[in-house]
Symmetry: C2
DNA sequence: CATCGAGTTGCGCCTCATGCAATAAAGATT
DNA sequence: AATCTTTATTGCATGAGGCGCAACTCGATG
């Protein structure tokens, strides 16, 4: 619907297009046409034209085009601040139209660390989506810490470290670690009886961007954790690889139960040093989900968070490996 | 830009169309597809489809269709309240993008009483639009009192009576009345010397929906106005007709100077009873403009109001008829 | 009961949004 | 410094979708 007859004009309110505004919000948040194109499953050329059309309608540029990135102009920044809130309000108003028991629907964008996502979120999400057929999920797994706003994510899982941020954090579940080794390893090397004896063992360590992890141990009557220098013949930034090596009898691992609970319950790994509490990040013993105030108000995000709380209370399935030792793994449902 | 792949869903945020939202706002405010179609210069079928598409995107009806009118559903009303504010904020944010000295632009919708509009607003608007080429004006003249919000008007002129309302009212100019007659009438019947002697004269009276107007007179030392029963042989709801009859020498009229200032200055009408102050609505002696808080923030409305204040200060041209007696009419510029 | 006005729908036409491919520009890499 | 790679732009062809006209429906009005 174009405005006609056209008069000479600096801007044309009727030339505004809601899709162009949404595209602009995503470009501004991500700093990239390419990222916005991926977000909306569109060609970059389409994004380019939407932005160009918006700038023409407004009568001035919103973005500086650099190679490999774009940046907001002063006016673009001011407009982005407004548009972001306007779109939020519009979507809330639109969603509020639904009757109170309306089905959550739309695209749920989830970010999580790779291993946690594969093992825990996929089955949880599977059950959630069977309940709510209107939900489409986009599961982005990455071991890099991302900025959910910039990446346009609805929910981000954080295992362990929880950086200070303006995001809304919800504690989801405790994160317990277990030292474990395969029976085949123990048959040859025997089981360590104290944390000190770990120095006689082959400890397979995670070595990521933050360097090589240390193992800490604490007895219940201790107020703090004691670090132990351990070493081994395999260090990797890929937890999955370390786990595979451990299952082959190569050495000991200290991993969270959401990663190795199944192996423990199936006897593929044997828990060790159970009188102590082991961890790799002292004091960080919880799994959180991060979202934004805005997204917390959407039906789909609230429904998924509620479902997660309900599924993981009072104790997540991955912490119930003791009860399942010897039996078939009880799939999540 | 459609959302794909589509999942089963109650609503689709990406299916929202800004034009459809604007159409919906106008339909809701006016209660009519036809009125909204006129507002946007579109066929009614186009409006019908926009609304239908919006309802499908939202998954529920927004309007009850009755013959000859539509009404908002409960959900439609709630949505309308939200959408109205969202659109207002979006338009303000968009207009705020302009540099401080940006030209006002867009469509200015003005409502005024017929005679006042023809005589006073057309030339005022003409000069304003020569200054601001980006302005398109829609001048709706009506002697019925309209609801500016419902009619989607930016500025409404009110001469005389100012009903209580939530609209923003700005006093624009004083409204002075003059009793006058053509020289040809006075040659035959002589001039009345007091208001009491009007009963001996043929007084042409406005007779509208509120009934036949009375004439009130007041001397400067009086605190109130005194009504006078006058009568004549022509009553009409059309001021222009009464004026034409007076110019033909048929009788006396009591009219505001914005209506007869030119005739007075050209000697076609002669002012009478000048020691008195005459009026037809006691106490209502001002011309106001009405707008809404929202529209007051728009550049085009502010610019027009500022221009009106500047043009009519310290005294509007229509009150300067004495200075122009005997000379050519000085057109507004 | 005929007429009128408001809204709906079928149909054809035209505009515009889209993706592909070629291109430009500049930062990253060797 | 040359080359490669990535991001964004633009020409072009195609198809989707918005539009107005006309016929129709329905209920209020006189």
């Amino acid at each position: 619907m174009t405005n006609r007859p056209k008069t000479r004009q600096a801007m044309n309110l009727n030339a505004l297009d809601l899709n162009a505004l949404r595209v602009f919000e995503r470009v501004a948040a991500s700093g990239s046409f390419t990222a916005a194109a991926r977000h909306f499953h569109r060609a970059v050329s389409s994004v380019s034209r939407q932005i160009r059309g918006l700038e023409e309608a407004l009568g001035q540029p919103l973005l500086y085009r650099h190679t490999r990135a774009v940046a907001l102009t002063e006016a673009g920044w001011r407009y982005y601040e407004e548009i972001r809130e306007i779109l939020e309000r519009l979507d809330l108003a639109t969603e509020a139209l639904a009757y109170p028991d309306a089905e959550p629907s739309g695209v749920l964008r989830i970010n999580a660390p790779v291993a946690f996502g594969q093992r825990q979120i996929v089955p949880l999400l599977h059950t959630f989506q069977r309940r709510h057929g209107g939900i489409t999920a986009e599961l982005q797994l990455s071991d890099q810490v991302i900025d959910p706003v910039r990446e346009g994510q609805d929910i981000t899982f954080r295992v362990g470290d929880l950086a200070d941020s303006s995001l809304v954090a919800r504690r989801l579940a405790p994160m317990n670690y277990v030292v474990a080794a395969a029976p085949s390893y123990l048959e040859v090397h025997g089981a360590p009886r104290t944390p000190e004896s770990l120095s006689d063992h082959n400890c397979l360590l995670y070595q990521g961007e933050m360097g090589r992890q240390r193992w800490y141990f604490q007895t219940p009557d201790q107020s703090g954790s004691t670090p132990h220098e351990v070493s081994g013949n395999l260090y990797s930034n890929d937890a999955e690889s370390l786990l595979r090596a451990a299952l082959l009898g190569q050495g000991l691992v200290l991993f969270p139960t959401w990663l190795i609970g199944d192996a423990l319950s199936q006897g593929e790994l044997v828990p060790l040093l159970e009188a102590w509490r082991g961890e790799v990040m002292p004091g960080r013993r919880d799994i959180h989900v991060l979202t934004t105030e805005r997204r917390l108000r959407t039906r789909k995000v609230r429904a998924f968070l509620d479902y997660l709380q309900e599924s993981l209370a009072p104790q997540p399935a991955w912490d119930q490996w003791r009860e399942r030792i010897g039996g078939l793994s009880n799939d999540h449902r």
